[in-house]
Symmetry: C2
Subunit: 269 residues, 2 copies
C-alpha cells in the first residue's frame, strides 16, 4: 500500500486528523528513560502503544535523535511502528534537500535505510532536488511550503508578482512535481489564512500542519481552513504538547488525553 | 582557532583555493575498498593523505554516508583529519534546515557529534533556523545561496522587486545573520556572473563554490569572479572529478593530480 492510500485508510479508520511528532528531548523524559541506552525508543514505544488507534500518522524527528547519535533508536521506533501497527504511516521529519545525485542518496537513507513511508523535504534547490524523492512512487514527499516558525517570513513570504514564495512552491507542487501523485505540503497552523490559500491552490493534496500545541496554532481554525473536498486531507501535528503532557508514570495516558482533546477540539473526520 | 581563522591560515599556507568534497559512491571506488566495513573511511583516508597540503578545506558529504548507514565512518574521517591534519578545516555538507529548537539539535549533531568546523545550511526557514548554527561562534555556517544545479532556477532565481531570491539571501547573510562573523555562502560555479554579484554584495565573506569538474563550471571564470579584496575568499569545491580520477591503484596519486591541475587552472592564491 502506498503512502497516500495508507494515510487515507488511517483517516477513515481512526476518524482522527492528529499526527504525533516524536521529538525526544532527554531532560523532559520521565526519569526512568534518561539513563538507559534505549531510552528514546522505550519512551516512544510507550507513546505509540498508548495512541496508535487515534492518530493518522507518526512523525519521528531526525534531528532530535541525531543530536544524541541515536540513529539506531530512530530506525528502531520506525521499525516498531511498521511491525506492530502496520496501518499507521510514518513520516520521517528530516527536512532533506540536496541536488540530483546527492538527493538520491538522501532518499535512499529515508526510504530504504529508515524505511519511512514519507519524508519532509525542502524545496529551495528545486526540481532535481525533489525528483529523487518523488521517484519512490509508493512513498510520500512532504515539501516545506509555509513553515510555522517566525523566520518563515524572511524568505517564504517575499512577494513575486504579488504572490508569496510559498504559493509558488504550492503551485509547483500541484503541477510540476506531483506526477506520481505522492507530494504533500507542510503548512504551519500559525497562519490559518495561508492554509486556506494553499488548499485552494492544491486541491485534495494532503497537508501536514505543525504548529498547534506548544507553538500556539489553533486546532479548529487550522482544520476549518484546511479540510479537503472529502473532509480529510490534514495531518495536524503536535509533538511537545503530547510527549510531555506529564513526566510522571502517567505520561503515556496523559499523551493519549492530549490527542483525544485535539480530536474533540476539531481534529476529527 | 575558529573556522574563519583556520580557513584564512589554510589559504596562506597552501596557496590553494581548492576544497575537496568527500562524496563516496561505492561502485566507483577501487575494488579493494568495496568489500570491507571501513571501506569509505579507508578510501577517504588515502585521498586526504595524498592531498592535505594542497587543499584549503575538506567537505565530507552527509548523504553519501547516510545512504549506507555509515554515520560512524563519516565521524571517523572527520576525526582523522582533525587529528592528523589539524590545520585543515572540515565542512560537513549536510544542507540542514529546521526551526528554532530543532535546528539547535542539528547544530549539536554537526558541531558536537561530528565535530565539523562548519556545516552547510538551507536558508528557506529563515532567521530562527539559522541562529542556532551561527551561535556556535567558533564554527562556520555555510548558507545555500545560489546552488549549482539546474533546479536552482525554480525558486532561487525568482525576482523580487527585480532582484533574485538568492541576492536576498546574500543580503540577509551579510547583514542580519552575520553578527558572529561566521557566515559563508554557497554559490555555484556554473554561473560566474552570480558569483560576481554575490561578491559585490557580501564584501570579504567566504564563498563555497561547487560545480566545477563533473558539473562543468570553469575554475578560472569562477575564481576571477569571486576573489575577495585580499585575493582569497573562495573554496572551489570538486568531488567526483578528484575522487574518481582513477579507480586503479594510482587513485590517490591521480586525485592529487586533479587538485594540482585545478590550482594550475587558476584556483590559487
Amino acid at each position: 500500500m502506498n503512502f497516500q492510500s495508507k494515510l487515507n485508510a488511517a483517516w477513515l479508520r481512526t476518524h482522527s486528523l492528529v499526527c504525533v511528532g516524536l521529538d525526544p528531548e532527554m531532560p523532559k523524559l520521565p526519569a526512568r528513560f534518561q539513563n538507559r541506552p534505549d531510552g528514546l525508543f522505550a519512551f516512544h514505544k510507550a507513546i505509540v502503544d498508548a495512541t496508535h488507534d487515534i492518530v493518522c500518522a507518526y512523525k519521528p524527528q531526525y534531528a532530535h535523535h541525531a543530536a544524541l547519535g541515536a540513529y539506531d533508536q530512530l530506525a528502531a521506533i520506525i521499525d516498531y511502528i511498521h511491525t506492530r501497527y502496520p496501518n499507521v504511516p510514518v513520516i520521517l521529519d528530516a527536512k532533506r534537500g540536496d541536488m540530483g545525485n546527492t538527493a538520491m542518496y538522501l532518499a535512499k537513507e529515508a526510504f530504504e535505510g529508515f524505511k519511512a513511508d514519507a519524508v519532509t523535504v525542502s524545496p529551495y534547490l528545486g526540481t532535481d532536488a525533489i525528483e529523487p524523492f518523488t521517484k519512490y512512487a509508493d512513498r510520500g514527499t512532504v515539501l516545506l511550503c509555509r513553515t510555522s516558525n517566525p523566520g518563515a517570513a524572511d524568505l517564504q513570504e517575499l512577494l513575486i508578482d504579488g504572490e508569496p514564495i510559498y504559493m509558488k512552491v504550492a503551485r509547483l507542487a500541484a503541477t510540476k512535481w506531483n506526477g506520481n501523485n505522492n507530494v504533500s505540503l507542510v503548512v504551519g497552523a500559525t497562519a490559518p489564512k495561508v492554509i486556506a490559500d494553499v488548499r485552494a491552490m492544491v486541491g485534495d493534496m494532503p497537508l501536514l500542519v505543525p504548529g498547534v500545541g506548544a507553538q500556539g496554532g489553533d486546532v479548529a481554525d487550522a482544520v476549518a481552513a484546511g479540510r479537503d473536498s472529502k473532509g480529510v486531507g490534514l495531518m495536524i501535528s503536535a509533538s511537545r504538547s503530547v510527549l510531555y503532557a506529564s513526566n510522571g508514570d502517567d505520561f503515556a495516558h496523559a499523551a493519549r488525553g492530549v490527542v483525544e482533546q485535539m480530536i474533540a477540539d476539531g481534529a476529527n473526520c
